[in-house]
């Protein structure tokens, strides 16, 4: 019951006029970056980050997280109305959302998407409300070896369950760690990996990397695909909205299943994109109406949307209680926490109660604000999509440039961002996953510190990672996940070659 009490206290922090105003601004900006192709949640949040340095941490996180919810909703709007996913995580929504809208049921498609998204988010926040402080309590007993084991497990789950080719995920991850190591080593004070460029002593900020990888990279992909908005009508019929929402419980099983998939993928860092695809795939396989998938089937919208939002929300659980973000955007927010002087992890629940519970309460309110705002503003943002992309693209480029510069007033950062942009384009094109790269840049130092402290404790023996039951279990689970793709491949070869052998 402690949690309920803390949550109620959180509401008194979240529901104040300035914070509600911040939610409004955050959600609107979020919908904007969600709607615009080439701007997504991770780089939207990192663009805002330098502007929050002067704010109270709880106000800052409310602004940033509201932007995240807005972006998740905004991505679905363009998926349904234009068949252009505004966010990678809303790609799966285009499969049935656009056909439904094209058949003249745009309002129904949007309401289905928003309704199930809100349900997914609600399940995610409830999970955080009841589990986060418990996880944090368990994690309080963690020492450096346990922490390193948890990091190892998180990264191994990217390789094992992320869905991208394993070797490419490994490159992404390890390169991220190397980038995190650039600059002054916090333990020994020596300067590492600057390759003779003095300015790199301060290291490479994750904001610059995100701006290039996601911002410029997406832009290059979008211009190549020549996004052209062919809109269906975006007028909202309110009676239809309520009728659709009242009908949603009929899909209760799909909603629950998708929320479960989403929460699982959010907590183990699979991220919203993988969650929405997985949820759509499972729905298509097991639904009795699977033949209608792809032609505007309601369950084809419900499944990816619920999972997307459940994953996006629950990605904050490991970030708050363990200091391990569950998605790229959560990683950016966690970087923000560190800049504001907070230490993400279990101590937050003891030292920063107001911050944690204010944030959790704001997630309930923020998602309600987001649903209401996105419904009201659909026509406005739909009109925005009619601006030709050749005008939007250079504007986004300028915004990213200025954003990268404003991190530490450094021109080198702008040049680095360009470089990351090319990498982002190549990686996306060749399905190298970007989220592990960003995650590794944000928590690379912490993972390294945990490793080195553990080694100090054991005087250089790796045996410490098998020192007690907990660490051993975590490390073994991580290894199993690393080997999973290999096992699956062998099993796949077996089953496909069997008929030939028979």
């Amino acid at each position: 019951m402690d949690n309920i009490e803390s949550l109620l206290h959180g509401f008194t922090i979240a529901i104040t006029l300035p914070h509600l105003a911040l939610m409004l601004v955050g959600v609107l900006l979020g919908i904007l970056v969600g709607v615009l192709p080439g701007l997504g949640a991770p780089n939207g949040v990192s663009l805002l980050l330098p502007l929050t340095f002067g704010m109270q941490p709880v106000s800052a996180i409310i602004l940033l997280s509201s932007m995240y919810w807005g972006a998740l909703f905004g991505g679905s709007v363009t998926s349904i109305l234009f068949n252009i996913p505004g966010e990678p995580s809303s790609v799966a929504t285009t499969f049935d959302g656009y056909p439904m809208a094209r058949d003249g049921r745009a309002t129904a498609a949007l309401a289905t998407a928003f309704g199930s998204a809100a349900f997914g988010a609600l399940v995610g926040v409830m999970l955080i409300t009841f589990l986060a402080s418990w996880v944090a309590q368990v994690a309080l007993a963690f020492g450096p070896p346990e922490y390193f084991a948890v990091y190892f497990l998180a990264f191994a789950s990217f390789v094992g369950m992320g869905g991208a080719p394993p070797a490419k995920t490994v490159v992404s991850l390890a390169a991220g760690f190397a980038i995190a190591a650039i600059g002054i080593d916090t333990v020994s004070g020596s300067v590492r990996l600057t390759m003779g460029i003095d300015e790199l002593v301060k290291g490479i900020s994750f904001v610059v990397a995100v701006m290039g990888l996601f911002g410029i990279g997406e832009l290059l992909l979008a211009v190549e695909e020549e996004v052209q908005a062919k809109a269906v009508s975006s007028r909202i019929d309110w009676r239809e909205v309520f009728r659709t929402l009242l009908n949603l419980p009929r899909h209760g099983w799909a909603l629950l299943r998708s929320a479960a998939i989403g929460c699982w993928m959010g907590i183990t860092p699979g991220g919203p994109t993988a969650a929405s695809f997985m949820s759509y795939g499972i729905a298509k396989r097991f639904s009795p109406r699977s033949a209608r998938f792809g032609q505007g089937e309601a369950e084809g919208i419900i499944s990816p949307e619920t999972a997307d939002h459940a994953a996006g929300t629950s990605a904050l659980l490991p970030m708050l209680s363990l200091g391990i973000p569950g998605s790229a955007t959560a990683a950016v927010m966690m970087g923000g926490l560190m800049i504001w002087g907070l230490n993400p992890g279990p101590m937050l629940f003891i030292e920063q109660k107001d911050f944690v519970w204010g944030l959790i309460a704001s997630m309930y309110v923020g998602n309600i604000v987001a649903v209401a705002l996105v419904l009201v503003t659909v026509p406005i943002f739909a009109a925005l999509m009619r601006i030709p992309f050749f005008i939007i693209a250079p504007l986004i480029f300028i915004i990213c440039t200025v954003g990268a510069y404003s991190v530490s007033n450094s021109y080198l950062d702008v040049v680095l961002m360009l470089g990351f942009g090319i990498i982002g384009y190549l990686f996306k094109k060749l399905s190298y996953p970007l989220a592990p790269l960003v995650l590794a840049i944000v928590i690379g130092d912490k993972a390294e510190d945990a490793f080195r402290q553990a080694m100090l404790m054991s005087k250089g023996s790796l045996g410490i990672f098998f020192g007690n039951a907990l660490v051993t279990t975590l490390v073994l689970a991580g290894m199993a996940l690393l080997l999973l793709p290999l096992v699956l491949q062998v099993a796949h070869v077996r089953t496909t070659t069997k008929p030939i052998l028979d």
Partner: protein, 155 residues
């Protein structure tokens, strides 16, 4: 035209070279156990090594990739049309500052490259730097680079 195979090979080579550079530059920081604990170079050395090994694997896989076109010549034209002016814009910042550079960049891409109507292009080109100034320097007090030109003019 660029084939999928060429793209895979280029990327794997890029990541491999990066990994190798990380390995080489971390060797002299020490890569093992000393009296002070784990040496500063150990962690980067290991990550660099992993990048190199995985890149070699990707290189081998890339070699087997199809030669199907991944980026057609019209795609490439679009890419260059976006990226080349952007690089010029970034290169111009130290000289003329963000404001002049962003205005010229918008005007150039809209009016010259995409044949957008001149009055509208001019309007956007003037509004952009003003909006940047208001949002960054005024609202959030983030100073943007004014460039060598502003120094000469004495701003």
């Amino acid at each position: 035209m660029i084939s999928r195979r060429a793209l895979e090979l280029t990327t794997a080579t890029l990541t491999g070279v990066f990994g190798a550079a990380v390995v080489i530059s971390s060797i002299d920081k020490g890569t093992g156990w000393s009296t002070a604990g784990v040496d500063a170079g150990t962690f980067p050395f290991l990550t660099g090594l992993i990048v190199v090994i995985a890149s070699l694997w990707n290189l081998a896989r890339g070699w087997l990739e199809s030669r199907a076109v991944a980026v057609s010549s019209s795609d490439l034209r679009h890419l260059i049309a976006l990226f080349a002016p952007a690089v010029v814009f970034v290169a111009a910042i130290p000289l003329v500052g963000v404001y002049v550079a962003s205005g010229c960049y918008m005007l150039g891409t809209l009016a010259l490259l995409h044949r957008f109507s001149l009055p509208r292009s001019l309007l956007i080109a003037v509004t952009t730097p003003i909006a940047l100034y208001l949002v960054f320097e005024r609202m959030f007090q983030v100073s943007l680079p004014h460039g060598a030109l502003a120094d000469v003019l004495g701003f």
